[in-house]
């Protein structure tokens, strides 16, 4: 299958450390002036479709589109219900796209079947903000930062507690840096918009860490 991946340099690099290796795609750092031959590709992956407007709906292509749909649900990205037949939502955030399996959602069986035949390691989840694993992880990181603020703890203490007491594969600061604190913040904001601040309060420290990340990039 002829595959094209579009996204920022940082996101393409993250993808190519993981599932991107088996897709063997052509890469297009987006946006640039030169546009690819859209009609040539069978599958087009947009790594940032939930962060900016995607070219998916304005170019001549009959490809299966795989759209990043963590910060917004897939249904909110589609301009019309008919697009559901050739669009898939996927968790393409850094770290998550570096594992073997891929977390994805579909709004039509036709699209899911086409996606599965291209990517057999897909795990289907409901189409909702945060999907499953980004949602759980964002809440763990946010809770650690809420506690850090409440109890005047150091990040080192919390990291040690998480590593030795919970045997998590990475510490809080390692997860945050690897995924990007700004992605965690955007996800928390999306959860808060959909479900309310009572269930999804945002740690003030998460905002500062995300701002630092944005300023330093």
């Amino acid at each position: 299958m002829r595959t094209l991946v579009i996204g920022s340099q940082e996101r393409i690099e993250a993808l190519m450390r993981g599932v991107g290796q088996r897709w063997q795609p052509d890469l297009w750092v987006y946006p640039t002036r030169i546009s690819p031959g859209w009609g040539y590709y069978d599958v087009i992956v947009d790594l940032e479709a939930d962060e900016r407007s995607s070219p998916a709906f304005s170019v001549p292509s009959r490809a299966l589109w795989v759209l990043s749909a963590v910060k917004k649900p897939l249904r909110s990205l589609l301009p019309a219900p008919t697009w559901a037949q050739r669009c898939i939502g996927a968790n393409l955030l850094p770290v998550f796209c570096e594992r073997a399996l891929i977390e994805a959602c579909a709004l039509s069986e036709e699209a899911w079947s086409a996606f599965q035949s291209w990517e057999p390691q897909a795990v289907r989840v409901p189409d909702s903000v945060g999907m499953v694993s980004p949602r759980l992880l964002a809440l763990i990181l946010n809770e650690a930062l809420l506690l850090q603020g409440e109890a005047a703890l150091t990040m080192e203490t919390i990291d040690l507690a998480v590593k030795l007491g919970l045997n998590y594969p990475r510490t809080i600061s390692e997860w945050g840096k690897a995924i990007g604190w700004h992605h965690i913040l955007h996800l928390m904001e999306a959860l808060q918009t959909d479900y309310g601040a009572g269930t999804y309060p945002i740690a003030p420290l998460l905002r500062s860490l995300a701002n630092q990340t944005i300023l330093s990039s």
Binding site: R99, L101, V123, V132, S133, L139, A144, A161, T199
Partner: protein, 267 residues
Amino acid sequence: MEVLILGAGTMGKGIAEVFAGHKIAVTLYEPDPAACERATPVIEKYAGNLSLMRELPQSLPHDIVIEAVPEDLALKRQVLADVSERLSPESIVATNTSALSVTLLAQATKCKTHFLGWHFFNPAPRMPLVEVIPTVLTAQTVVEKSVRLLQSVGKVPIVAPDLPGFIVNRVARPYYVEALRLVERGDISPEVIDQLMEGLGFRMGPFRLMDLIGIDVNHAVTQRVWEGLFYPARFRPSWLQAQKIAAGQTGRKAGHGFYEYEAQKRL
């Protein structure tokens, strides 16, 4: 130095191993004959350093007392009140609680300046972390002595605040609570959530882990953290867990939880 451990359940036995394994004299107090019977292999393994006590004498000469009775506030307070009457004022008394308020437990004792929490993790001989939880009444020297002593037996102590769930159980809560919330909505299974989290490098997904811990135990910790933080919506306990507990499906130990373990149980 002499250490007295109150309660020979899983945690009491594990903590006894930690100290006895470092050639420190440990007495394990357990009034229940069945629990004493279950502790026999550990007593035999560490013979010379570990002994069993079935009745408490009027006076206890121990330097360190670690309370490891079941996680029930009233029971712990009763045991601590009784024991603190029998100790010298210089003895350090630690409660091994996973989520109860250490300050509330301290109020039951006569040794408030020498009382604090030492939260070991299961299995205690293998898990290096110990949360050391002073109250506002604990003497700083007692905290420092606790840290040094725990380091001397190979543990990594961290000083944690006396807040619901301390550090570890607080940070871990969303892993369970949010996963349960997703399954409660009915459009995803525990197996899929476990597969996704294990794919990220977690040793066990939240449901497999709850089955191992005990759904009842996990639910009780969430309940305490929720109550202790004045009922925040994000930690509201799960009706799905409550339903499992009511049905007796409390995890691996019961043969049923989010997964079935009957075959394993028969083995």
